[in-house]
């Protein structure tokens, strides 16, 4: 555990809305080591984007964030990001400088009114150098490294003059401009064509080898997960329901949600004429959620009277493999539900 970069412990992001309390992120824990790539998978609305925004302290002002996000910088003492002032100096140093982020929509991620060059050098000038010319040079160099032709001309172009793939490359260049130790990629390839997607993914892997940063990769695309990451956290309704390495995920999924998710991937081969499987029902709205496992109403192996009462905790059920489901005795044991079963008061 010596080269831990980011240690997230029991992170909760609650949004008090008119309709009720939205538990967007409800107590997630994971760690990222230096140079490692972690995937965060889940359906849309499961809270994965809110989780990373909370890590960057970019969640809406009215959000209540609790838990711990310990960041271990290269030099200096670890900081708990949750305790920082969301508009303070330290978090601004971390943002862009130490933890950078790329977003899903390359079109809207850039301001349409400013040149690409302006928007890239801006970050460099905040974190690396005051010198305008030097910042310009760094930016041109970066644009070249992310594979853009004619980088010095690109600098003076506006976002709408670039294609989607090119824009995402520029976005990556911008994120890497200050050589961050962690890159958070929030579905960076979802909006791109499949071929462009493959190029961008390859680019990110190459750059990771070159820069040596860690990547937190958020996606709903299991195919991308298989190509990109070493460890995967599966999120469902604001909670991590399974955490394991990528091979175990695909071949020995433990949580019924993960299994269902993997079954729903279209397969090419003999049985391809089979009807595509889907998970029954829809994700419930996580506002004023009832107690119990969030997957209960959609689950085929649910235990009535248990799963709908007490939330299963995330517990190690196999070597380096954690799951949150009562089909594993370890989970029931950890939750102490054997005593609770008789009472049935539904407290958590």
């Amino acid at each position: 555990m010596d080269d831990v970069l980011l240690d997230v412990q029991d992170l909760k992001t609650y949004l008090p809305l008119e309709e009720g309390l939205l538990k967007a992120v409800d107590g997630i824990s994971f760690t990222i080591r230096r140079g490692e790539t972690i995937g965060l998978v889940g359906e849309s609305g499961c809270g994965k984007s809110m989780a990373v925004r909370s890590i960057m302290r970019l969640a809406p002002n009215f959000a209540n964030i609790s838990g711990r996000v310990i960041y271990h910088p290269q030099e200096g003492d670890p900081v708990d990001i949750v305790q920082l002032d969301a508009h303070g100096e330290r978090i601004r140093d971390i943002r862009g400088g130490e933890i950078a982020m790329i977003f899903q929509e390359p079109m809207t991620s850039f301001s349409p009114l400013h040149t690409i060059g302006n928007q890239i050098t801006e970050a460099i000038r905040v974190h690396r150098t005051q010198d305008r010319k030097q910042a310009h040079k760094i930016a041109i160099d970066l644009l070249g490294r992310v594979g853009m032709s004619n980088p010095s001309q690109r600098m003076s172009e506006h976002p709408h003059q670039l294609s989607g793939g090119m824009r995402q490359r520029a976005m990556i260049a911008m994120a890497l401009s200050c050589e961050p130790s962690l890159l958070i990629a929030d579905e960076p390839t979802t909006a791109l064509d499949v071929t462009v997607q493959a190029q961008v993914l390859q680019l990110m892997r190459d750059l990771q080898d070159e820069f040596g940063m860690s990547i937190l990769y958020i996606t709903h695309d299991l195919g991308v997960i298989a190509r990109m990451v070493q460890h995967v956290a599966v999120m469902y309704l604001g909670k991590i329901v399974e955490f394991t390495d990528v091979d175990s995920l695909f071949y020995q999924a433990k949580h019924p949600y993960t299994s269902a998710l993997i079954k729903s991937i279209p397969k090419i081969g003999k049985k391809s004429r089979r009807r595509l499987e889907s998970i029954q029902g829809a994700v419930p709205v996580p506002i004023n959620r009832p107690p119990g496992c969030g997957f209960f109403p959609r689950c085929s192996v649910a235990i009535p009277g248990l799963c709908d009462r007490v939330d299963p905790p995330l517990v190690q059920v196999a070597p380096r493999h954690a799951a949150a489901c009562y089909v594993y005795p370890e989970v029931a044991e950890a939750a102490n539900v054997s005593e609770l079963e008789g009472q049935g008061d539904g407290t958590r």
Binding site: A282, P284, P290
Partner: protein, 377 residues
Amino acid sequence: MSTRSTVAELTPPVELHYEILSQRQLIWRKFKRHRVAYFCMYFLVLFYVLAIFAEFFAPYGPFKRYTDYLYAPPTPIHFVDENGAFSLRPFVYKITSELDLNTFQRAYTEDTSEKYFLQFFTKGQPYRLLGFIDTDIHLFGVDEPGVYFPSGTDGLGRDLFSRMLLGTRTSLFVGLMGLAVGFALGLFFGGLSGYYGGGIDMLIQRLIEFLQSLPTLPLWMALAALVPPEWTPIQVYFGISLVLAIVGWTGLARVVRGKLISLREEDYVLAAKLSGLSERAIITRHLLPGFLSYLIVHLTLAIPHMILGETALSFLGLGIQPPAVSLGTLLQDSQNVQTVTINPWLLLPGGLVVVIVIAFNFLGDGLRDAADPYKHL
């Protein structure tokens, strides 16, 4: 309890914690949460009721002159008499006037020797309710020779409150009339423009740009000058509605066109087309519901414009002409600053305009927020 319900209790159905609501239910739910807008809706309904039954709610006829009470201030209403005795029934004192020979102003004082109790469902001047029911019952009033002017009187001694009720009717319905015509024009041109596109769209867009680049008021003035002076009040009324509509339809046409164009490119419209749905079905089943809510919002926000337009025109003497009464013509009396300064209650119709317009704006805002029920979820 029947056996059936016991069985149901034993095996409770899996409880799903989400309900399926139709678009309309969602909108209504969201709208109700907008308290102010919800309140304004009822407020405006009340105003329309007051306006429709104006003669009943008015204590006097709008043209009845009380020559002893020119520019009389609003009559004070009392619950406690001069001896300190409390009366549950409100009453007014007799009003006497005296002409100040220096300023030629009338000074009105209360004569506490005579009091008149407020009567409800009292007999007063005969009128025709809704245009066909002959009656002389008024909601409230005082017995002759007592007078009760809730908002004072104008320079001819007519009860301003009664005239305001009648004026509200004119102004509210001129707004609606203008809206109806403008709506028809906007829907027609906007629909044409958005549906056919190409050359027709170009032409109509240029026309709209042209109309929008003209200063509104001079255009109104020019068009209103068109209304012949010998027209009857009813004709003038329609004429002014038409003028307001001719100037005001362009905004609506733009909304309709923009919405149609963006909707045409929605995937679900394409899907409907691909599945062989007829043009007509696409328009009525897919396009229309898509922008009906926007249309309603826009209409709500257009009414106050019409009302303000009418008021301005009538104030200038170009709109509704006396003896017809509208909130604008009532304000004509306050054109003279000296008069208004001495008799400030003459501005009350203006206050009424402000209140009505604000209510419409709030209602429109609430509807707009509600029209997109998924927006803030």
